[in-house]
Amino acid sequence: MNHSLLDIENLSVYFDTPEGVVRAVDGISFDLAPGETLGLVGESGCGKSVTSLSILGLIPTPPGRIKSGRIKFEDRDLIGLDTENLRRIRGRDIAMIFQEPMTSLNPVLPIGRQVAEPLMVHKDLTKSEAFQEAATWLDRVKIPAARKRLSDYPHQLSGGMRQRVMIAMAMVCRPKLLIADEPTTALDVTIQAQILSLMIGLKQELGMSLLLITHDLGVVAQMASRVVVMYAGQVVEEAAVTDIFDQPFHPYTQGLLKSMPRLRVRGDSRSQRLNEIPGTVPLLTEVIRGCKFADRCPHVFKRCRQQQPELFVIRNGQRARCWLKSYPERRTT
C-alpha cells in the first residue's frame, strides 16, 4: 500500500539477556493510513511496547537490537536513519504517550517547561512563546487554571492530570502520528473515560493517525477502526474492528473476547468468573517450531505443532495466523 503513513514490515526485535535471546517481536507487519486509528492488542509481555518503542528508535541497545525489518514512515525507513534525523521526527511528526503517568514526567522540572520543550526544539519558538502555547494546550486538555499550573511540579498533580499533561506534551507540535501505549491502564475507570474522550476529540480536530496500544478490547471498540492482535511477538490476527467483534477467526482472539467482562454477561449470573484463556504465554527465549499458541489452543491438532501457520487471508481485510483456515473441520465446538 503506497498511501500508508506508517508501514512496518517483518520487524524483529531481540533482546540479549543472560537467559538467552528474547524474541520480543518476531517478524510483525502492519500499516497505518493517515487519519486512521489502529488498535494493537494482546496480553502482557506480547511485545506491544517493544513494537511502539522501536518505531521511535527508543529500544535500549544493548540489550535490545533490531534484528530485521523496515519501519517506513512517509517514505523514509526509520531503521537506520541517523540519530539527528530521527530526533527531528520524534515529538514533531511522531509523538508518544506512555502507560505510567506517575513516572513518565520528570519529577524535578515544572510541567510548563516539560510541555513547552518540544516547541522550543522543533518549532524554534522563544521560551515565552513556547510557554504561551504550552498554557493553551494545558487548557485544551482541560487542566483547570492552566496558566497558573505551568510552574507546578508533577507530584502536585493527580494521575489523571499527569496523563493530560502527557497528552498536551505529545500534541503541542501537532504530530502526524500519535502512539499511545496503554494511556489509560494505570488510571481508574472514570478518569479512563475522560482521557479517552479527550483523545477522541483531539484526534478528530487534528486529523492525526493514532496507534493505540492496549489490552482492553473495550477501549479498542470505542476508539479504533482496525485491530491488530499480537501473541508472543507475532501478529496472529488483523481485521476491521467490527469483524474482530462479530467474527473473530483466531482462537486466541476468541479467547480474548470471551475474557472481556462486558460481552460475557448476557443473562449469565453476575458471579461468573472472568473467562480467562487457560495456560501461559510461551517463553520468548524458546524457539517454537509450530504455532506459538498451540499449547493453549482448544482446537490444537497435529499440524499446529509441526509447522508455523502463515497469516492466511480470511476475508477482505481480515487475516489470521491459524491452520484452521486450511482445516475448518478441525474447529471443535
Binding site: L105, E117, P118
Partner: protein
C-alpha cells in the same frame, strides 16, 4: 521554613549538650595533668597545686563542667592555657585557613567528579569508562598525606611552582595565601573526587533508565539536554548527600594535610592542643566542629530543596 529553622536549632542544642558532656568526660578521665605539662617535671608540689587551683582543676567534675559551659553561654569564653588568649580568637584564626581550604578542596572535587562521572556514565563499560573507573579506584586507594607529599616533591621541590608549605596569612599576602592552599586543597579534593565520580556515574546510570528519560528522548530533545537537564538534576540528589558529608568533615579540619603543609588550620590547632593538654581549646574546638557539621547539613538541606521540588523544609 520558620518551623524548619526552629527544629534545626532545637536539634543543634540537644546535640551540643550531649557532645559537650561526652567531650568533657573523655578529657576529664584522660591521663596527663595540664599543670604538670605547663610547669615541667621539676615543679614542686606546692606550685603545682597553686596552678591547679588557678586553672580550676581541683574542683569537682560538675563544677568544672559548669565553669566551662558557663563561660561559653555567658559569652565570656574560655582561655587557652597554653597561649593565654581567648580560644575564640584561636578558632577564628584557624578557621580563616581551614574554611577556605575546605571550600577550595570541594571545588576541586566537584569540577573533577561531575564531568568525569557524566563522561563515564555515557560510555558505560567502554574504554573511556574503564579508564575513569581505574583512576577513581586509584584515588580511593591513595592516602591523602602521600598524595600531598608527592605533590610537594613534584610541584614545589622539583618544578618550584609552589611553596613547600607554610601560610603567610591573608592580610600579609593574599595571593600567597591562596597559592599556599592550592596544593593541599587539590590533594584533598582529588581524593574526594574519586568517590564523587563513582557516585555521579552510578546515579546517572540509574536515572538514565527512568521512564521520564525515555519521555525526554521521545520528545526529540537533544542528547545534551536529556543528560544535563533531565537526567543530571535528578542524579545529583544522592551525590549532594555525600558532598555535604565530605564538606562537613573538611570543615572540621584536615589534620594530616594541614600537618604535611604546615597550615595553621583547625586540624593542626586541635592536634597541638591535645598534645599540650590545652583542655579548654580541645573542648571548644570539638563543640565548634559539631556545630559546623550541623550547619553544613543545614546548607545541604537547603540545596536539596532547591534541586528536588518534592522536598519540603519542615
Amino acid at each position: 521554613m520558620i518551623r524548619y529553622l526552629i527544629k534545626k536549632l532545637i536539634i543543634l542544642s540537644i546535640l551540643l549538650f550531649f557532645v559537650s558532656i561526652a567531650v568533657f568526660s573523655v578529657l576529664f578521665v584522660l591521663p596527663g595533668d595540664p599543670a604538670q605539662i605547663i610547669l615541667g617535671i621539676n615543679a614542686t608540689p606546692e606550685t603545682l597545686a597553686n596552678l591547679r587551683a588557678e586553672l580550676g582543676l581541683d574542683k569537682s567534675f560538675i563544677a568544672q563542667y559548669m565553669d566551662w559551659v558557663g563561660n561559653l553561654v555567658s559569652g565570656r569564653g574560655n582561655r587557652s592555657i597554653n597561649y593565654d588568649i581567648p580560644v575564640y580568637d584561636l578558632i577564628l584564626s584557624s578557621l580563616a585557613v581551614t574554611g577556605p581550604l575546605a571550600l577550595l578542596a570541594m571545588v576541586f572535587a566537584v569540577i573533577f567528579s561531575l564531568p568525569f562521572g557524566v563522561y563515564a556514565a555515557r560510555r558505560q563499560n567502554r574504554p573511556g569508562d574503564v579508564t575513569v573507573m581505574f583512576f577513581t579506584q586509584l584515588g580511593l586507594a591513595t592516602p591523602e598525606f602521600w598524595l600531598g607529599i608527592l605533590l610537594i616533591l613534584l610541584l614545589s621541590v622539583h618544578w618550584g611552582l609552589f611553596s613547600a608549605g607554610g601560610f603567610p596569612g591573608w592580610s600579609t599576602d593574599f595571593w600567597g595565601s591562596l597559592k599556599a592552599l592550592i596544593l593541599p586543597a587539590f590533594a584533598l579534593g582529588i581524593i574526594r573526587a574519586a568517590i564523587l565520580t563513582r557516585l555521579t556515574r552510578s546515579s546517572l546510570l540509574e536515572v538514565l533508565h527512568e521512564d521520564y528519560i525515555r519521555t525526554a528522548r521521545a520528545k526529540g530533545l537533544r542528547e545534551r539536554t536529556v543528560i544535563y537537564v533531565h537526567a543530571l538534576k535528578n542524579a545529583l540528589i544522592p551525590v549532594l548527600t555525600i558532598l555535604g558529608l565530605q564538606l562537613g568533615q573538611l570543615m572540621a579540619g584536615a589534620i594530616i594535610i594541614e600537618n604535611v603543609y604546615y597550615l595553621p588550620g583547625l586540624g593542626r590547632l586541635v592536634f597541638q592542643a591535645i598534645g599540650q593538654r590545652d583542655l579548654p581549646v580541645v573542648r571548644d574546638i570539638v563543640l565548634f566542629m559539631a556545630t559546623a557539621v550541623v550547619l553544613v547539613n543545614f546548607v545541604v538541606d537547603l540545596c536539596y530543596a532547591g534541586l528536588d521540588p518534592r522536598v519540603r523544609l519542615e
